[in-house]
């Protein structure tokens, strides 16, 4: 079944079963491997992308329901102001260790800042609780979100 999506601002058409999760379309058909497979059941957040600016878990999102929607992945999030700020803060604070969960972390953080420009700790907890990190970078993630929001070193 031919489906068309706008991915990172560009229209993309592909053939995929309607029940195929967006994650595998991105990774295995379109070759956008920045979005990660972690659990396949929306429990870890590694596969987080934006649909029309909202964070979603692409591993359980059937592509058949998405025709015509706008998808942003880690490869394209830097084009938005919130995404670019988050990426810069992530670099400045050296948030990352192994990095496997960080595409998802950055996507969740960018969506948070786009909707809540000055999040407090409870906003951060609520927005980021679905993204787990096996290296335990949570403390730096929180600091980096605050820095991205304020533009200052926290």
């Amino acid at each position: 079944m031919a489906t068309t999506l706008t991915i990172n601002g560009e229209p993309k058409s592909f053939d995929a079963p309607a029940d195929m999760p967006l994650l595998w379309v991105l990774r295995d058909i379109l070759g956008l491997t920045g979005t990660k497979f972690g659990c396949g059941i929306a429990q870890c957040g590694a596969c987080t992308v934006h649909i029309d600016g909202k964070p979603v878990r692409s591993c359980v999102l059937a592509v058949g329901a998405l025709n015509g929607r706008a998808v942003t992945t880690i490869e394209g999030v830097g084009a938005s102001s919130a995404g670019a700020k988050v990426q810069k803060a992530w670099l400045d604070l050296e948030v990352i260790q192994c990095g496997y969960c960080q595409s998802g972390q950055i996507m969740s953080a960018a969506a948070l800042l786009a909707s809540t420009p000055n999040p407090d700790d409870s906003d951060i907890d609520a927005a980021m609780s679905g993204n787990i990190c096996r290296c335990g970078t949570y403390v730096r993630i929180r600091a980096a979100i605050k820095q991205a929001a304020s533009g200052r070193q926290s």
Binding site: M20, G34, F37, G40, E75, Q87, C98, C133
Partner: protein, 709 residues
């Protein structure tokens, strides 16, 4: 530390050729120093300066640093690059990093002797080799510049990828020097920087791996993409050790995108156009598992066994004071702490991409054990190891899970059934279910408190041995069996006999050796050449032959046999024979060490002493002995090492009577022949330890000797 590397089987032959101690040492993979050797990496092309395994500089000055340890998030790529660049004085902004290929000779971790990243050893093990590699490359670049300018290399300085000659104001970039430097030779000894001169080490620099990790460009093993690649996922029996029984693939075959069902002995995999097809196909399979020997084993049973074991007495690691009395005093507290099985649960699920061709196999994965993965893949593919290429990647979490090769072996076995490259990705469910779990442990603690102080303390640890995975033969019956080998009376007798033999032989041979060397070096006499020949004889003759000669001379049928039997003396198949045979074999060591030394030192000082009225003994003790003492000590140590390890000659005269005429090497052979591997390896490890102690003593003495000079 959970590094696991099975030692290669020590062949029977190696055990029987008398080189047991050294064979055992090698099997332990003692640190190798190949990393320091200026071996040209195999993939270097012309026009690059490639002084060692870690550094390549092309003519544009681009500096490629090859990473011997893998990046799993711990930051080692940045640390390794900083150490190399520091001593190289590289332009840090022009540095690019490359994953090392599988090559144990070039990239073995000096802490393990294998190409492994684990146990928090990277900096500790590579600190010096990397600095030496950087400094040595720098020296070669300086040499090339100095030669071009016809100046003293010592008058040149380096910084930021350039060699400078300050006096004349001349400069050459490393890129410009690359070709000339490549034809130079690495220096033998190279000075390392003083910490005060560090420009990179000690600074908090930005990580090399971060930029690509914030923009999605990073490539982990799971991100490998190849033209015409297929995707696969697999299932294994839910019970460890189980096999595939019956598979009904009729529904799965009809799933869109499913290309192939691979059914192996213990694995079922579905190959499709993408992971989704593979996953749906796997779900559609009806698999009957043959659950095998562990079918009825449950966590409950395992805990029950462990709790029962933890109530038994174990091996005492340390005991101080009267524990029973201490625990009976004051208020007693008892506690048990239990740690469950745990999966490593790396964020990046296990995966491996493989392309098997008739004559080659290429692998894309993220692993902590490059060379092992290569050799295991070769076995699985049925190809020689050099036909297997492994492309390593950044790793989305290792924690020791990727110190195992199982995911690679499984992928190769699947890929053998697939035309073209296939990426095998484990679902999270398989990843957790088929982890190699952190083992269960139960620690029981009893303590008593009196007046706020601990007066009694007993700590017992019960669990599976990690070392047992390193040394399966020695430990497959548990650490208790290993240690109890030493309390076996026959083993104890063998240890005693070995030490006794050495205690008799070494002093006697020292005495003979000094006397013979003295006579040969200082005097001219008839039969001198006969004596020299006699000293060299044991080296020329096989030890087995010397043993047989003793049997011919002293055996029951031998020249003195009748007389010995009549007078009730036993030499052959008894301790005196062992001592005599050992003495013969070890006779040359002291003398051979001393003769050249004494000859070189000459007679002048002795003649002067005698002229001044000193007697023979006084001359020897006051003049000769002080001059030869280091050679003497060295000879004694060699003699001792050989005496404890001698196999051939002793084997012939001993008769292998357990507990009476078995020395340690003979006892090891007896145990090994009886398939008592635990005992054999336990005694072998002790003998190895004695050999290591000997070598340490030798090194210490040499070191002191050098310092004395």
């Amino acid at each position: 530390m959970t590094v696991v590397e099975q030692i290669p089987d020590i062949s029977r032959r190696a055990l029987l050729t008398g080189s047991l101690a050294s064979g055992f040492l090698l099997a332990f993979h003692l640190p190798v120093h190949a990393v320091n050797e200026p071996v040209q990496p195999p993939d270097v092309t012309d026009g690059k300066f490639a002084p060692n395994a870690f550094i390549r500089i092309d003519t544009t000055g681009k500096t490629t640093l090859v990473m011997p340890q893998v990046e799993m998030g711990q930051g080692i790529y940045t640390a390794v690059a900083m150490i190399l660049a520091e001593e190289l004085d590289a332009d840090f902004s022009s540095v690019v990093l490359e994953h090392a290929p599988a090559n144990e000779k070039l990239y073995a971790n000096p802490a393990f002797g294998i190409q492994a990243t684990g146990g928090s050893t990277s900096i500790r093990a590579f600190w010096k080799p990397l600095r030496e590699a950087g400094a040595s490359a720098r020296a070669m670049l300086v040499q090339a510049a100095a030669q071009e300018w016809q100046v003293d290399p010592a008058s040149c300085t380096t910084s930021n990828g350039e060699v400078m000659h300050t006096a004349s104001g001349r400069k050459r970039s490393y890129g410009e020097l690359a070709i000339a430097a490549n034809s130079g030779k690495p220096p033998k000894d190279v000075a390392l920087k003083e910490p005060k001169d560090y420009v990179l080490i000690g600074k908090s620099l930005k990580r090399f791996d971060t930029p690509d990790k914030v923009n999605g460009k990073v490539v982990y093993g799971i991100d490998a993409m190849l033209p015409d690649m297929k995707f696969a996922t697999l299932a294994m029996c839910p019970v460890f050790g189980g096999k595939v029984g019956k598979v009904d693939d009729s529904a799965a075959k009809k799933m869109p995108g499913v290309r192939k069902i691979v059914v192996l002995d213990d694995i079922v995999a579905v190959v499709g156009d993408h992971m989704w097809a593979a996953q749906k196909g796997l779900e559609a399979l009806a698999i009957d598992w043959d659950e095998g020997p562990n079918a009825r084993l449950s966590s409950k049973d395992i805990w029950q066994d462990l709790r029962a074991a933890s109530e038994k007495d174990g091996v005492v690691a340390k005991s101080e004071g009267d524990i029973a009395k201490g625990l009976a005093t004051g208020d007693r507290l008892d506690a048990a702490y239990e740690l469950p099985f745990l999966a490593h649960a790396t964020m990046e699920p296990l995966n491996c991409t493989v392309h098997v061709r008739p004559d080659s196999c290429e692998i894309w994965t993220g692993t902590q054990i490059m060379a092992r993965v290569q050799s295991e893949a070769a076995k699985a593919a049925g190809l020689p190891v050099e036909k297997v290429t492994v492309n390593n990647h950044l790793i989305g979490g290792g924690f020791g899970r990727r110190l195992e090769p199982d995911m690679v072996v499984a992928a190769v076995r699947v890929a053998k059934q697939v035309d073209g490259p296939v990426k095998v990705v484990w679902t999270r469910e398989q990843d957790i279910q088929h982890d190699i779990y952190r083992p269960v442990y139960r620690d029981t603690i009893a303590a008593s408190l009196s007046g706020g102080k601990i007066v009694g303390w007993k700590y017992k640890v019960s669990g599976s041995s990690i070392i047992a995975r390193w040394l399966p033969p020695a430990f497959d019956k548990g650490i208790d069996a290993y240690l109890s080998s030493f309390s076996d009376s026959d083993t104890f007798a063998a240890i005693r006999l070995t030490l006794l033999t050495a205690a008799i032989v070494v002093p006697l041979n020292t005495l003979f050796g000094v006397a013979a060397a003295w006579a040969i070096a200082k005097f001219e006499f008839k039969g001198k050449s006969m004596l020299i020949t006699a000293i060299d004889l044991p080296i020329a003759v096989s030890p087995v032959i010397s043993g047989l000669i003793y049997v011919l001379v002293f055996g029951a049928q031998g020249w003195f046999g009748r007389w010995l039997i009549e007078h009730d003396y036993s030499i052959i198949f008894a301790v005196p024979g062992i001592v005599l045979a050992t003495m013969f074999v070890t006779f040359p060591y002291v003398a051979r060490e001393l003769i050249p030394l004494m000859e070189q030192l000459g007679n002048d000082e002795e003649e002067a002493a005698i002229t001044l009225g000193a007697g023979g003994f006084m001359t020897f003790f006051r003049v000769t002995l002080p001059k030869i003492r280091w050679g003497l000590v060295y000879g004694v140590i060699l003699c001792n090492a050989r005496a404890m390890g001698e196999f051939g000659a002793v084997s012939v005269v001993s008769g292998h009577i357990r507990g009476i005429t078995n020395t340690m090497p003979l006892h090891i052979q007896v145990l090994y022949d009886e398939y008592n591997y635990v005992g054999a390896f336990a005694v072998a490890s002790l003998l190895t330890m004695l050999a290591v102690i000997t070598l340490i003593v030798k090194t210490l003495i040499e070191w002191q000797g050098y310092r004395g000079k």
